[in-house]
């Protein structure tokens, strides 16, 4: 195929298989919370940022976030990619390839992810970023609000943006393994810890909570000892942040992730610090979480 006159042909990624869930994500949607629009963005912001850093992309370039592997994409034109986050076995045209590294896919090459042994979400960064149309300034798909790029389905062509001027200057990044059977997350109590008994707060900080299969990009629904309220009545809805441990009447907390509701009507006993949110986003069902101050 020849390039159109006066320009270079843009490369694209063709989706061959999306696995259990693949979305387009960037650093998130800022400045529209007062319209009821949430932040969204990559659930594991650290792994997403690394994918872009490896490729010398600007920090907000759009990437694919894929859940429990299974993603297969074919390069349409040469594409340079990186895979970070949950370490799924990677192959390019059937040959093993490295995670946390710069991978050059020639035209027609197919990259395939297996199922990660630990962790939950992997990021496929693309040099130049995925150039799908932004919605309200972001290329993040917010699954709760139904905003942003469509889900990449088999056959979808995702255009790749122009490569940045700077070449990638690292081939491979050393990273600590992502995920594990137990994770510690640091929290700060509040804003509504005064809605709970002292025993409930002590329980939260001493017992393990297990991530249930009813977990998604909105939040990790946890199973464990219930947290008893110190007062009755209803809390007027208030703004929420990612990392909030919201406690519905049943007493088992929900740990809010990237697509959490903008406001919520149940009290938040504690909030996970932003540095530990990537660990929360990588906790697959069955993972035990321990909260510490």
């Amino acid at each position: 195929m020849s390039a159109p006159a006066g320009g270079t042909r843009r490369s694209a990624l063709e989706v061959v298989a999306a696995g259990p869930l693949t979305t387009v994500q960037d650093a998130g949607r800022f400045g529209h919370a007062d319209l009821g629009v949430g932040r969204s963005g990559a659930a594991d912001a650290a792994s997403y940022a690394l994918a872009n850093r490896l490729l010398a992309n600007p920090p907000g370039a759009a990437a694919l976030e894929t859940t429990l592997g299974g993603l297969r994409v074919r390069a349409r034109g040469p594409v340079t990619v990186s895979l970070t986050g949950a370490e799924a076995p990677v192959t390019v045209d059937g040959r093993g390839a490295a995670a946390n590294a710069v991978l050059h896919l020639p035209d027609g090459a197919e990259l395939a992810l297996g199922v990660p042994e630990r962790g939950l979400r992997s990021y496929l960064g693309v040099r130049g970023g995925l150039d799908v149309p932004p919605v309200l300034g972001s290329r993040s798909t917010d699954l709760l609000a139904g905003l942003g790029p469509d889900l990449p389905v088999p056959g979808a062509l995702l255009p790749v943006g122009p490569a940045p001027a700077a070449p990638p200057n690292v081939d491979q990044a050393p990273v600590a393994p992502v995920g594990g059977s137990e994770v510690r997350l640091r929290v700060r109590l509040g804003p509504r810890d005064d809605w709970f008994t002292e025993e409930a707060v002590a329980t939260l900080l001493s017992c393990a909570y297990e991530v249930t299969p009813r977990s998604d990009r909105v939040g990790a629904r946890l199973s464990g000892p219930g947290l008893e309220r110190a007062r009755s009545g209803e809390l007027p809805s208030e703004g929420m942040v990612a990392g909030s441990l919201q406690v519905p009447p049943g007493g088992e907390p929900v740990l809010f992730l990237a697509d959490h509701p903008v406001t919520g009507g149940y009290p938040v006993v504690a909030v996970v610090y932003s540095a530990d949110l990537p660990g929360a986003a990588q906790a697959r069902p069955g993972t035990r979480i321990r909260f510490t101050l």
């Binding site: 529209h32 009821g36 929290v187 942040v241 990392g243 406001t263």
Partner: protein, 212 residues
């Protein structure tokens, strides 16, 4: 003593947010307007709600500095001092819950419609879905509880009541509010700038479009 003290509580959401609790909606609206006019560095989003304003902060911003900046703000002017933009929404009042609302309020169907159209509503905050504005009015007779059971599907454009609020469903979704009618107005349109018609501070008048 600063007369804001006592009325304002500043709470922390780890290193990602500062939650300011005030006396009521009027204070939320005034504080949001004050912070929108004079932004605090590092604050990425303001999330107004019924009794609180959440300031979301970006990475590397010191939450204590943001909290101090909020505490140091001069008392906001009385809410209602400067009227905002006014939006008029024509409504076909044929909602499925009109009879229930009449029974709950002790008004007739016509009186419910008259009260809803004569009240001045102000968008206090958004939430639930993009473009869903929680509007507060000046007629306490229209306060009704949510329905005992939520509907699995409320059509887009439905105009509804619950608690101290009225709202318009921006898209078809589940919902538990009492349905009064429907409007053809698109309260959420991504091809418009800004996409939301019902933004905090906007005044809203409903008009009776008559039955088709």
């Amino acid at each position: 003593m600063n007369h804001r003290e006592g009325a304002v509580r500043v709470l922390r959401c780890a290193d990602t947010g500062v939650l300011v609790e005030v006396a009521g909606l009027a204070e939320v609206i005034a504080l949001r307007a004050a912070l929108a006019a004079a932004p605090v560095p590092g604050v990425t989003d303001l999330v107004p709600a019924a009794r609180t304003l959440l300031l979301r902060i970006g990475p590397g911003t010191d939450p204590d500095a943001v909290a101090d900046a909020v505490t140091a703000l001069p008392p906001p002017p009385e809410a209602g001092g400067e009227p905002g933009e006014t939006v008029t929404l024509p409504v076909v009042y044929d909602g499925e819950d009109l009879d229930d609302v009449a029974a709950l309020t002790g008004l007739s169907r016509d009186e419910v419609v008259r009260a809803h159209t004569e009240a001045t509503w102000t968008v206090a905050f958004c939430g639930f879905a993009p473009g869903f504005g929680y509007m507060v009015g000046d007629d306490p007779r229209l306060r009704v509880p949510r329905r005992g059971e939520a509907r699995t599907r409320v059509p887009a454009g439905s105009v509804a009541l619950a608690g101290e609020f009225t709202g318009v469903y921006p898209r078809s979704s589940p919902g538990g509010w009492q349905l009064l009618g429907r409007t053809e107005a698109r309260v959420w349109d991504l091809d418009r700038q800004p996409p939301g018609l019902l933004r905090p501070g906007v005044r809203v008048r409903f008009t009776d479009a008559g039955l088709p």
